[in-house]
């Protein structure tokens, strides 16, 4: 099954591997445990020495306090974040799939050059476009009547114009779909768009799921984007809201800060466990085909 399993590993080696992995796993998981445990402690207990991992008393109320704290309006933060995430996922899935189809299934002049050009844009650091995009959005607001700054649009509008990374990923997948399927549809009188929609897309669900998951995570985690383009607290995302909550409670009320962090992390972890295979395989395949 695995490459190195050509021969039976000696027992002693297997045991030491397990011991090593268990110690490492404890190291990786301890921060989570510490976070959860702090989030369930009273303020006094967070300052106790030596600390305990099991909170006594257990205070689930911390979560209610955080959720009902007017300084961090979780419902609104979550709603803003979801709007950005959903619009980004929808936009990038549709547009990137169309573009990937063009690059994978249609032979046309200049295709190789355009594809290379697209891949090379992945190297451009965000700060290079950050400032001038700001001025472009401002100009659009002044000259088209459609406001961008002061809304959530700057954070998802770009997703509707295909992202290089997602196009690359989908193109690699489309290339594995046999040409005979498209040809059969073509003989049946199917248009190119029809082939894309009825033949290719239904077969590409795994790749599309990976794109959707990664994009959702990206929107959920993004910090610098919202920091630059969001101006009013009413439009804050979870990331910004959590950060401003932290700066207001500067280094004191760790039980609240940890409870708030748990609330921000939880959806991501739940999503991961619902789609674990897709995640792991997605990361494995996207990282490899450099």
């Amino acid at each position: 099954m695995k490459a190195s399993s050509g021969r039976q590993t000696p027992l002693a080696q297997r045991i030491s591997t397990h011991i090593g992995l268990i110690l490492i796993s404890v190291g990786f998981i301890l921060p989570f445990v510490w976070m959860l445990s702090t989030s369930l402690k009273t303020l006094d207990k967070t300052m106790e020495f030596p600390p305990t991992f099991i909170p006594d008393p257990v205070v689930p109320r911390n979560y209610i306090d955080v959720l009902s704290n007017p300084k961090i309006d979780f419902a609104r933060l979550a709603r803003n974040t979801l709007v950005i995430a959903v619009m980004s996922v929808a936009g990038t899935s549709i547009s990137s799939a169309l573009v990937a189809y063009g690059f994978a299934k249609i032979r046309f002049r200049g295709r190789g050059f355009l594809f290379a050009l697209m891949l090379s844009t992945m190297m451009i650091p965000f700060p290079v476009t950050m400032v001038s995009l700001f001025t472009i959005f401002r100009w659009l607001g002044d000259h088209t009547g459609v406001q961008f700054l002061g809304t959530l649009k700057p954070l998802w509008i770009g997703a509707w114009f295909a992202s290089a990374f997602n196009v690359f990923l989908l193109r690699q997948f489309f290339l594995t779909i046999p040409e005979e399927l498209s040809d059969a549809a073509r003989i049946d009188g199917c248009s190119e768009l029809g082939i894309f929609w009825r033949v290719i897309l239904p077969l590409s669900r795994p790749a599309l799921t990976v794109v959707a998951l990664f994009t959702f995570m990206g929107a959920w985690n993004d910090f610098l984007g919202p920091l630059v383009y969001i101006q009013r607290p009413s439009q804050y995302t979870l990331a910004l809201g959590l950060q401003s909550f932290q700066s207001q409670h500067g280094g004191t009320e760790w039980h609240y800060l940890m409870a708030a962090s748990v609330l921000v992390i939880a959806p991501v972890i739940i999503l991961f466990f619902l789609a674990q295979r897709t995640f792991i395989e997605g990361i494995a395949t996207t990282g490899i085909k450099g």
Binding site: S4, F28, F32, W34, V99, L133, M217
Partner: protein, 318 residues
């Protein structure tokens, strides 16, 4: 072009048109604009005023520019190799035929899912000098007291204010200019799970025959690693290295949230200084010049990585 060629061309362009529009509007135009701004004095409030190469010349004299560049370089040069070694090491451990592999893999992977704001807060708490988990563990292990640098002061002939101050143990991490950056690097190791999964997939693609051949030739474990495993996953390492260079030059959120660049600007990163110029001091032209220098650095480093890869990256069957 024939009629068929034209048809294919227009079809192809139609399909990729979303990217073409996006490329022109959200990449080419902003990149060109930022090049233009980099030669201007531009405060957002007034139109850009052409100043030639003044921004670039000022940058060369700007202590904070060099400081943030140095800090970023320090972070990249320690965090990247450390992350690489840890993730390859973990992937090798996981790649053995052991029970519970997927459980270990999940545990190691989970931290890389945590949104950066949340992980920053968590680690601020862990690094907390008095109450943090890390220092509890360290004092439990008997790491206490003070490190005196008197011998070093003596050796370097430092006196008065120049003397290296004693470091309390366990260290105050984010509160001391000397330990803040190592703390951020340690924290970055927690998020290597992504790379581990990628390397693990790479390892599992290594053809078994190669190991069998190595066994027949009497290779020991180290030789198998050195001559079979590492060359076979070198393309993956290379890909991660290039992405890591680009990513670590853009380090922003963790330091912005955890230290604000301090103490004493010890964790002031390049992108933070750029952001401050743009949106705190409204020096858009100056920030754009910084952004262009950043782009050039990325291009040069990527080119170097590609060039050097000919020596050590092994592409199978190519």
């Amino acid at each position: 072009m024939t009629r068929k060629d034209w048809q294919d061309f227009s079809r192809g362009i139609a399909f990729i048109s979303p990217w073409i529009v996006g490329f022109l509007a959200f990449t080419l135009l902003p990149v060109a604009l930022s090049l233009y701004y980099s030669f201007c004095d531009y405060s957002l409030l007034q139109s850009p005023l052409w100043v030639g190469t003044e921004n670039y010349r000022e940058l060369m004299r700007d202590d904070d520019f060099w400081r943030t560049l140095r800090n970023t370089g320090y972070y990249a040069m320690v965090a990247l190799p450390a992350g690489l070694m840890v993730s390859v090491g973990l992937a090798l451990l996981l790649n053995q035929n052991i029970r519970g592999q997927s459980v270990y893999r999940t545990i190691i992977f989970l931290p890389s899912l945590v949104p950066v704001v949340a992980s920053s807060m968590l680690w601020m708490w862990i690094f907390n000098a008095k109450l943090g988990l890390l220092n509890h563990v360290l004092s439990f292990c008997g790491i206490e007291g003070q490190i005196q640098f008197s011998w070093l002061n003596h050796l370097l002939g430092l006196q008065g204010g120049d003397m290296i101050q004693p470091l309390t143990m366990p260290p105050p991490w984010l509160d001391d200019a000397r330990t803040a950056m190592p703390a951020l690097i340690m924290m970055s190791i927690w998020g290597v799970g992504n790379a581990v999964v990628i390397y693990l997939a790479g390892l599992q693609d290594v053809p078994r025959e190669l190991y069998e051949a190595a066994d027949i030739d009497g290779a020991n474990g180290w030789q198998r690693l050195r001559n079979v495993t590492l060359p076979m996953i070198s393309p993956v390492i290379f890909f991660n290295l290039v992405m890591g260079i680009i990513g670590s030059l853009q380090t922003f959120a963790t330091a912005y949230i955890m230290t604000g660049g301090g103490p004493a600007k010890a964790t002031y990163f390049y992108t933070m200084y750029l952001y401050d110029n743009a949106f705190s001091y409204l020096r858009m032209g100056y920030a754009s010049a910084m952004a262009w220098i950043q782009l050039l650095i990325v291009l040069v480093l990527t080119a170097v990585a590609f060039w050097s890869s000919k020596r050590w990256v092994h592409y199978q069957g190519k």
